[in-house]
Every structure is written in structure tokens, then in C-alpha cells.
Chain length 353, copies 2
């Protein structure tokens, strides 16, 4: 940045204060308001400083090597839920973000913001959960930090993890690389994480216990890269679910994405829970699900590779990339009607990660 660039900087708050005088829960919900906060405030505030706002992990070239660098704070409530807890989630979330750039996760940091009064035993159980998750994801924990805030100024525990990964392939993996004709693959059924959180939070009982799908997915991505599958884009389906992830990719790439809802796997119990709660599984958060964009002629091989691993057992095709409807996501519904699948406007379910 030159001095004249710096002088030209506009210091006006880029979010309309009259409309949004205060930060809302939905500003962290993965939908339209969060996009606005990132796209207007952070992109503008950090303009010229190298921010890579449209990807889950930034790529930094150091000493001629390509590294991926990412961060996520975890504020999930409650701290424990069927199938996981804030500790395992904090490891998987960052490992998966690194994997979306095709990087091999090397090491992570863990930073704890503890509310005074948290039972010591709870903290220890979460530390053990982090340990187990790191061993499973094959990532080191090299550095950390601990802060304690007064009672009533936190919510038990928040955890931040940042991570560094090594990019060993020579592809550009991201929205800019997708092409018309690409096939969209998904590694399993949708919606379990969000429903598991909701059930734990509200004390809901379903006929079967719905466990979170939270899992490390770096093994899936690495297997595709090792097999030299021409991966164009990978994205994990966390806040805002499948619909938000695809909308982000469509917008960033300027391509159209068409999804066939009849091909999107949702377990019957999850579908039932969604109906009761008024949720759409396409917008519900997952923590062990990714979409993979590959050329049509590599799709079968990619599916075979994904299916051969535990985390890809349910891998399937769910859509295609098209020139039509540029920048948008379209959906053929279960009853055969086609419509725009939009970004989430409000807040479906806060604090799921």
C-alpha cells in the first residue's frame, strides 16, 4: 500500500448504522448478515493487508513453500452433545478448514477462554477430547493460551484453534477453479450435527439418538490428492449448511450450481426432527461433511476413493456446475420443481460451532 492509498482510505463504518446499530446473533450465523459483516466491514477494514476472505484457509507462501493458515473460535452451546464436544469440534473444524485448500494439516494452536467457575473436571475432559481428536486427525498441538473471564462474562468455555497446513500439490483449489460440467460430490448424509446440538440444548428426545457427524476429513481430501484426482474446489458445510456453502461458491466463481434434492441424503430421523423443528436440512450445520467439485470424467473414481474411507461411506453425486443461472444455486426439489436455493437470510440455529 502506498501513502496515497492510505490517505484515500474511507473511515466511515461500512455497515449502515441506522439499520444495524448493534451486532445481532445472525451476524455470526453463516447467512446473509454474516456475509455482509465479512464482505463490508472486514474486507474494507483490512483492505491492502492481504486478507483472503472468501476461503476457509488462507494460502501463504513462505520460503517458497505453500502453507495454509486458518483460525476458528468455537462457542458451541452446550459444551457436550451426542457425538462430540467443543474440544473435538475445535480440532476437527480447523483440520477440515485446512483440508479444504488441499493442505496436509501439520500443527494447531489451542486458546482457551474460560469462564470463572467452570468445573475443573469438565476442563480436563475437554482437554482429553482435544487430545483424542488430534491423535485421530494426526495433527500436533504446539502452542496455546489460557484466559479466564469473570463469572457471567463468558459461557463456560470458548476455544480458538488456529492451524498450519502444508500444500504439497500444485493445483489452485477454490471457487475460481470450478468449471461448467463439474460434478458436485458430497461425502454423506446432512443435518446430524445441527440436530444433535438442538436436541442437547432443548432436551429433546427422538426415537433414535441423533449423533453429530463431527469428524476429521483431511484423510478424504488427502486420498483424492494422492490419487491425483483433479480437485477443483472443496468446502465444508458448517454454519448455514449445504445451501450457504454452495451459494458462497456460486457467488465467488460466477458459475451456476444445480442441485438435485432427491440425490441429497438425509436420514429419516433427521428429516423427521427437521420437520418438527421447522428446519430445512439443506441449511442445517454439519461438522463432518464436505462438497467436492471434480470434472465429470473423474467423478466415479473420486466417489470410489471417498467411499473406501469411513468418513466417505455415504459419498454421492448431488449436483453439477453450469453456465446458466450464473452466481446462483438452483434446486430440483423432491417433488420435481426447480427453484432458486438462496442464502439463509436470518438465523437458523445460533452457536452450533
Amino acid at each position: 500500500m502506498t501513502m496515497s492509498d492510505a490517505l484515500r482510505f474511507d473511515f466511515t463504518c461500512p455497515i449502515p448504522i441506522a439499520e444495524y446499530p448493534r451486532v445481532l446473533l445472525a451476524h455470526g450465523g453463516g447467512g446473509r448478515l454474516m456475509q455482509q459483516l465479512i464482505g463490508r466491514m472486514f474486507k474494507k477494514g483490512f483492505d491492502g493487508l492481504g486478507l483472503q476472505a472468501d476461503v476457509d484457509a488462507a494460502e501463504v507462501v513462505i520460503n517458497g513453500g505453500r502453507l495454509a493458515f486458518t483460525t476458528d473460535s468455537f462457542v458451541v452451546h452446550p459444551l457436550r452433545f451426542p457425538g462430540g464436544d467443543i474440544g473435538s469440534l475445535a480440532v476437527y473444524g480447523t483440520v477440515n478448514d485446512l483440508a479444504t485448500s488441499g493442505a496436509r494439516p501439520l500443527c494447531i494452536s489451542t486458546s482457551f477462554i474460560i469462564e470463572e467457575g467452570l468445573p475443573m473436571e469438565t476442563l480436563w475432559e475437554i482437554v482429553l477430547s482435544i487430545r483424542e481428536a488430534a491423535l485421530e486427525a494426526d495433527v500436533r498441538i504446539v502452542t496455546g493460551d489460557t484466559k479466564v473471564v469473570d463469572r457471567g462474562k463468558g459461557d463456560g468455555l470458548f476455544i480458538n484453534t488456529a492451524g498450519i497446513g502444508l500444500i504439497t500439490h500444485d493445483r489452485m483449489i477454490g471457487p475460481a477453479a470450478i468449471e461448467p460440467g463439474d460434478v458436485v460430490l458430497l461425502n454423506g448424509d446432512l443435518g446430524r450435527h445441527g440436530i444433535a446440538i438442538m436436541a442437547a440444548r432443548e432436551g429433546l428426545q427422538f426415537e433414535t439418538e441423533i449423533e453429530s457427524d463431527a469428524a476429521p476429513l483431511n484423510g478424504l481430501v488427502q486420498a483424492l490428492i494422492d490419487a491425483d484426482v483433479p480437485l477443483h474446489c472443496v468446502r465444508d458445510l458448517t454454519r448455514g449448511g449445504l445451501a450457504s456453502a454452495l451459494n458462497e461458491i456460486a457467488a465467488a466463481s460466477g458459475k451456476g450450481i444445480h442441485v438435485d434434492e432427491r440425490q441429497v441424503p438425509v436420514r429419516e430421523d433427521v428429516r423427521g426432527a427437521c420437520e418438527i423443528l421447522g428446519f430445512d436440512p439443506l441449511y442445517v450445520a454439519n461438522e463432518g461433511r464436505m462438497v467436492f467439485f471434480v470434472p465429470e470424467d473423474a467423478a466415479d473414481r473420486a466417489l470410489e476413493i471417498l467411499s473406501s474411507q469411513e468418513q466417505g461411506r455415504g459419498a454421492c453425486r448431488i449436483g453439477v456446475v453450469r453456465d446458466a443461472d450464473a452466481g446462483r444455486v438452483t434446486l430440483t426439489s423432491t417433488i420435481g420443481a426447480t427453484r432458486i436455493l438462496d442464502m439463509l437470510s436470518g438465523e437458523q440455529l445460533p452457536r452450533i460451532c
Copy 2:
């Protein structure tokens, strides 16, 4: 880690639950309880996973290059104080942690945990402060994250920054490298940050306004490295102040450190405020102060280099490393008496960073 190591792992909580059933504010205060939490719980929980618990930044070798990696969460209260705010603090804190390993800070991440209801204008002002601090410290902001928690479950804003730096020297800088005869240098007067926070929090008025010393110190460290000064150890003096930092270094190195209190600069207004508040400036947090350990024959040159920069104007000698009193810090007080300068036991001033 081999399978037999994993099987041998002891899952008992390493903090005595009967004594500490819950996390206390002091567990985050930089004193003895925080050392216990890190030393027992995190070191044990992450055993075998590569944790480097005794340094401000971990060193990771990637592609043959030496990188520094660090993280810190900032929970300072209030968000703004004389001389800075949580935004600038979050940048300087991580930049300074990277600098303590002699690394050149390259890029940082910023992760926001916002309490619902934070004025949008406040968030923007802090984003601008982060921007300015990053430009001043010459570091990029490449990635980030935003979470929003419900009203009453946070405290306005917490920020985590993680950072990557490049180590270009071939020294081992750290407690293990200090030697008897080394001189301890300090880059300026102590205690302003903690007192500035306290004054802002409690609405105290002093005759002069005491501003935080918060500043990026990477330029100081880089200048010493560029001049090939044989730096043995560098540490910034945040939570727990000078006394805690020196105790950590003494314990980790097994050497004795002797400080002459008459040589430790404390401004008159800060000394007065400390007397009124019952604080000891040796334990008060700073955010722009570091100690540097160098051999006696390099001390004058190091002082000259430090003094030539804005952040090192007040550089001075304050002590020496000795074989005597191994693992401990001793102090000759202003009245000439010598005593042990111990680690802080309780909590002097919570949430100063």
C-alpha cells in the same frame, strides 16, 4: 507416540479437584495457578503431541524452514483504555510473542467473539485500530473468523490472534540459552499498561494521564538480530509483569537471575498509582516491554541499538544471570536489602490483556 505409550496414559485429572474444584480468575492471571494449569493439565493432556509450553511462540520446521507459531486470546476489560484498545493489543501481543523467538512476523489471523448487542460503530473502530496496528507492525492479516454469542454470554468482544513468523537467524533463543554472566536488559519503564487499564476500569483520575505502553517490539528484536548481537533469550512482560517473566526463565533455565531494583525504571506517576492501589510495579503487566539476555561483552552494543529506536528509548541494564540461587530470582531492593523475588501467588489484576 507408540501404542504402548498411549495405553500407559493416565486419565486422572492432574489438578487436585478437592483443592480446586472450579477454575478461578487467578488461573488466568499469569502467576502460580496459571503455571500449574499449564504445567499440569495442558502439558499432561497434550503429552506426546508436540506442545512447547515454556515459550511464547512454538518453533515448527516446515520444508526445512524455521517458523514461529503463536496464539493469544484477548479479553481485556474495558475494550478501550488510555493508549490503546483490544484491537491494537491483539496485534501487538501476537507480534511480540513471535518476536521473542527472534522471528520476523509475517501474517496473523483475527478471530472475533462478539457479544450480541455490541454497537456496530465500536466494532468498526476496533477493526480500524487493528488495521493501524498491523500497518505499524508491518504484518499481514490473512484470515479470520466471526462468532456471535447471546447477550450475557460474553463481554462485548474477545479477539484471538494467531501468528506465523519466519526465523532467519540460526540461534536457539530461549531460557535454555542463557548463561551465567549474561546481562538482563529492559527496553523501558514498567507498569504503565496495568495502571492504565485499572484507571479506565475504575474511573480513577491521576494528576497526569497514564497511557498504556502497548507497542509492537518486533523492530527492536530484528535490529539486534540484524546487528548479529548474540541474543540468548527474549521475553515480553505481560501478565504477571517482570517478576513472573524472570521467574519463568529462571525455572526453565535452572540459572539464577539477580535484579537490582534501583536500576528498574518506573515513572513517578506509575509508582504513586501503584502505592495507592497496593500494587508492586514489578508484577504489573506491560504490553510494550521486553527483557533481553545478552553476554556482558555485547551489552553496551545491544543497549545502543535498542536506544536508537522509539520503543527502546528507555533501555537499561537491570540484572545479571548467576549460578547462585539456581532456578530463582533475587532482588536487591531500593533500600539495599536482598531477597527472593517470587512468582505471583494470587491474582493481581485480572483481564489486562
